[in-house]
Each structure stands twice: as C-alpha cells, then as structure tokens.
C-alpha cells in the first residue's frame, strides 16, 4: 500500500476515489456504475455534493445509500431512493430520454481513444487480431459483458471513467469495443448529434487524463502527488502524452478521507453480516 506524506496519509486507491468524487458537482445527475464509480459518487454525495443525484440502472432514482451496494440492485439503493422505476423505464425515459448529465463508468480495458472493453480479453489468443469480431468467439478471458455501459456512454451528456492504471488495462487498442469512447480512430462521435459528447475525464490511481480536443486521444492533464511521468509511461500501453500545462492533483483532505474510510468500514461490516447456509 503506497502512502504519501502530505497533509494526510492516504493510499493511491483513496487518492483515485477522492479525485473521482471531486469531478462530480452538486447539481449533476449521475448514472452510476457499480464498484469504483459507485464509491466515488457516494463520497461526493457525503462531502462536497450533498444534493448530487445518483441513479443506478436497477431503477433507483436519486438514491442515498448509507453503505455501498455490492450489486447494482441492493435493497439499500431502493430503500434510500426517491422512487424506483422499472428497468425498461430507466433505460428508455431516464437514460435515453436525456436526463443524465454524467455516466460514471469503470472498465476492464481502456484504449487511447477511451474506448472500453468489458467483453473479452483476447489479445494473446492465436486466432485474434486486434479486431474484436475475430477474437470474440474464442476468448482468452470472458469478461462479464457490457451491461448498461454501451448506452450510458452514448446517452449521458458526458462520461467520467475511473479505473486503476496498469499496462494490462491501458492498451493502445482495446481487444473489443464494448462501449465507445471516441471510436477506433477518434472520430466515432463525429456527426452524431443525438448522442452525448463522450468521455471528458479518466481518473486513475496515478493521474487524470482528458481527451485532446482535436484528436480525442487521452493525454495526462494532472499527476497525482508523488507520481512521476515515468510511472504513468510504465503503466500505459501506448506512447502517452502529457499536457503542456501539466498540473498536480490536489490531495485528499481529512474530511474526505474520513468519509471514504467510514463508508468502506460500514460497507464491509454490512456485507459480512451473514454466513452461508
């Protein structure tokens, strides 16, 4: 566990979550993916953005869970929601209907154009090229699949992504585009006025990346304290570029760390309460 000495002691995971949380503001409606995005979104709600509207694909609108859900449809989400709608209504009226400011996603693989792969890992398979169509049938690793992401990414006004930084995850070209960032050539959203503007920020445990306005290639705009350019280069599967005005990410404050740690402790306790029969 890496720790940094600044105003507070924190891990790189905590740095990632809290930085991701800070990307959300109080007046946003956020369609929340399970896992890291859910953790970040709830830290935001419990710190600087108490009125942020969190929506989960299970149909729970404006939910305020006290512990993090393990699944996308834990009872906690429904019980603390303003109301709960059916899943078809959630995808038709609320997501496709244009009511979501931010889709907050995690991923298994991400490439330089912020395309996401949660379908198959197949790059090392003998039959595979880099084209998902060829490697899909006989994958090296079968991942869970797209879930809500393919349409969250196109029907939300913008997309935030949070994922741990590693060469396995940050690849030049994803094995399969489950969910579009900006397409194989960065132009996948051009001339499509009915879809959202796509990923605007990627938050990792090392840095913050944003798409270059012209090419849509992800470039590093901010390094987390204690991270070097070389750390990022080593953990990225393409020749990563850095912004001219590279910033240093502000560190977590005491309150954020306390909220995150208490949330995780409550969650751990809640999920371990029962023994298998």
């Amino acid at each position: 566990m890496t720790t940094h000495n600044d105003t507070a002691q924190y891990t790189s995971s905590e740095m990632m979550t809290i930085t991701a949380a800070r990307a959300l503001s109080n007046d946003m409606t956020c369609f929340v993916g399970i896992g890291l995005p859910s953790e970040a979104a709830n830290v935001a709600r419990l710190t600087h953005a108490p009125d942020v509207t969190l929506i989960y694909e299970s149909g729970t609108l404006q939910t305020k869970p006290d512990v993090l859900p393990l699944s996308i449809g834990d009872g906690e989400l429904c019980e603390s929601a303003l109301t709960t709608v059916s899943v078809p209504e959630m995808f038709r009226y609320w997501l496709q209907g244009g009511h979501i400011d931010v889709g907050f996603l995690g991923t298994a693989q991400i490439d330089r154009f912020a395309n996401l792969n949660t379908t198959v890992i197949a790059a090392n398979h003998p039959e595979s090229g880099k084209n998902g169509a060829h490697s899909y049938a006989n994958p090296k690793v079968r991942l869970p699949g797209g879930g809500g992401a393919p349409e969250i990414s196109t029907n939300a006004k913008e997309v935030f992504i949070t994922v741990k930084h590693s060469k396995r995850t940050f690849v030049k070209d994803v094995d399969f585009i489950t969910t579009i960032g900006f397409g194989r050539d960065g132009k996948g959203r051009d001339n499509l006025p009915t879809i959202g503007r796509g990923p605007s920020v990627v938050i990792t445990d090392l840095c913050i990346l944003k798409p270059d306005p012209a090419t849509k290639e992800l470039i590093v705009t901010s390094l987390h304290p204690g991270t070097t350019k070389q750390d990022v280069i080593d953990a990225t599967g393409w020749e990563i570029k850095f912004a001219d005005s590279l910033e240093t990410t502000p560190t977590p404050n005491e309150k954020e760390l306390q909220v995150l740690r208490e949330l995780k402790a409550r969650t751990e306790k809640a999920h371990s309460a029962q023994e298998i029969k």
Partner: protein, 271 residues
C-alpha cells in the same frame, strides 16, 4: 386462469425440455427456489434469457440444464466471474453453451417490446459498439421522420416467464414492490408464467399505482417462502451478500460445485 400449485407441480406442468425461459429479477427477487426446482427436475436443452445471469444461471448451467444463454451482464455482482458459465463457454463443461450477447438497454427494450406485443424493439443503442459485429440479431432501422439510424432487435417472448414476488391475494393477483426490474414484462410477454411468492394474503393493501399483476396474467402461483434467497425480497429479508462472496469458491471448482448441487439442491425436497 391462475392456479395455486406447489412449485414442484408448477415446474412439472409448465417447464419443458427445450423451452426458452426467462427467470428474471434485477438483483432483487431472483427466483432461486424455482431455478433449483428446474435443476431437480433435470430439464435439459433450455434456452435461458436473463439480463444479469447471476448465481441462479451459474447453477442451472453448471447442472447441465442449459444449451443457450442470452444475456447482457454475466457476473457475480461485486465479486467476479460466474465460474460455471465460464467453464461451459471456455471448456464446454458440462456441455456446450451458445451465447447471445446484448447490452442492458437492448434487453430492457426487448422485454418491453415483448410485453407490448411488438416483433421488435427500436432504441438508440449500440452506437460505436462492436457487439453488432458478433450478434446477428442487431439490425438498424432508419427513422422516416428524422433520418436517424436506430438500433432494432427482436422482442423477447419466452415460452416460460418465471419471477418471484412479495405476495399474492387469494384471487391470485400478485404484488411486486421495490426494484421491479423487468418482472412485469416477463410475465406479460411469456406464453406461460410461474410466480413464486413469499406468502398468500387476504388483501394486497396497495396504493393506486402499485405494480400488480392481475390473476389472469399468471398461470401458476407457488408459495415459496425465502424463495429468492440469497437474493432478497424487499420487506421480507435482505440480500445475503456474503453468500454471493462465498459462491466464488464453491463454483470455482467442478467438484465443490457438484457437491454443493447434491447437498443443497438434489438433497432438498421440493418446496
């Protein structure tokens, strides 16, 4: 008309080898008891449809009931893989498993279209995704008014729809409350339907717009207390998140899975 039946009789009457079946419940109200009864009755060659396959389908696949799986997110939520499903896909154990893969939006729309009696669902989906390259069901239609290209997929109309719900009244009307998922759509679109409930009550005691399935939309109602465990039933019991975590170990290994199957499914009487 609705018949109150034991779960054993309901499955024996309405679930046949080779059927296309949706056991639904979006995390909430997953009909585990019904799934286990299907395993006990050794149904084979089923085509299973479900947005989030979850443990219940891992168990059905591992038990050898399934030849085809249509899904949009197949995992143990918050834990990891469905090892029995992966073993079937990757190693054809215990038998070959064909898969049809969609996104959630696609399946939600396809269930909605099935309930709406339509042959297709039309939605703004799959833009830029490579899923249409590997799923031949996905077509496009052009809006005659705007010119926009939209995704179209066939609606879902299963042979059998199976759900779990909180309760039924004595006339056979069913209340579903909380995360209602695609439960209503499954029952309305299926040729035959089975609903397991926690209990039968005199009066559903509902507000005007509650999600209630009239008795005449359901073929069989079976009382199955705790019939959704380790999933949950809002107002009755919580999700057993720890069970989901422990499933990872049980299911990872063929032998430990088969042991679990013997003791926890075949070893149990009918509900």
């Amino acid at each position: 008309m609705t018949k109150f039946m034991t779960l054993k009789d309901a499955v024996a009457t309405y679930v046949k080898d080779g059927d296309t079946i949706s056991l639904e419940g979006f995390t909430h109200l997953i009909p585990f008891a019904a799934g286990h009864e299907i395993i006990r009755q050794k149904r084979r060659n089923l085509s299973l449809i479900r947005m989030t396959p979850d443990l219940i389908y891992d168990q059905l696949v591992g038990a050898g009931c399934v030849r085809k799986l249509t899904f949009s997110w197949g995992g143990n939520p918050g834990v990891g893989s469905l090892h029995r499903v992966r073993d079937a896909i990757e190693h054809e154990y215990p038998c070959k498993l064909e898969t049809v893969e969609h996104s959630h939006a696609a399946m939600a729309n396809a269930y909605e279209a099935g309930a709406a009696g339509l042959p297709l669902a039309v939605f703004r989906g799959y833009v830029g995704s490579e899923l249409p390259l590997v799923n031949k069901e996905i077509a496009t239609i052009t809006c005659p008014f705007s010119g926009e290209q939209l995704a179209a997929i066939p609606s879902i109309k299963p042979d059998v729809g199976i759900i779990h719900a909180q309760k039924a009244d004595r006339a056979g009307n069913v209340l579903i409350e909380g995360i209602i998922g695609v439960q209503k759509e499954v029952v309305l679109s299926a040729k035959r339907s089975i609903v397991t409930v926690e209990e039968i009550v005199d009066d559903l005691d509902v507000t005007p717009n509650a999600c209630v399935l009239p008795a005449w939309t359901v073929d069989a109602i079976a009382v199955a207390p705790e019939g959704a465990k380790p999933s949950y039933t809002l107002g009755y019991y919580d999700r057993d998140n720890n069970y989901y975590k422990q499933w990872d170990n049980i299911s990872r290994d063929r032998d430990s899975f088969n042991q679990w199957l013997e003791s926890h499914v075949f070893g149990q009487g009918d509900v």
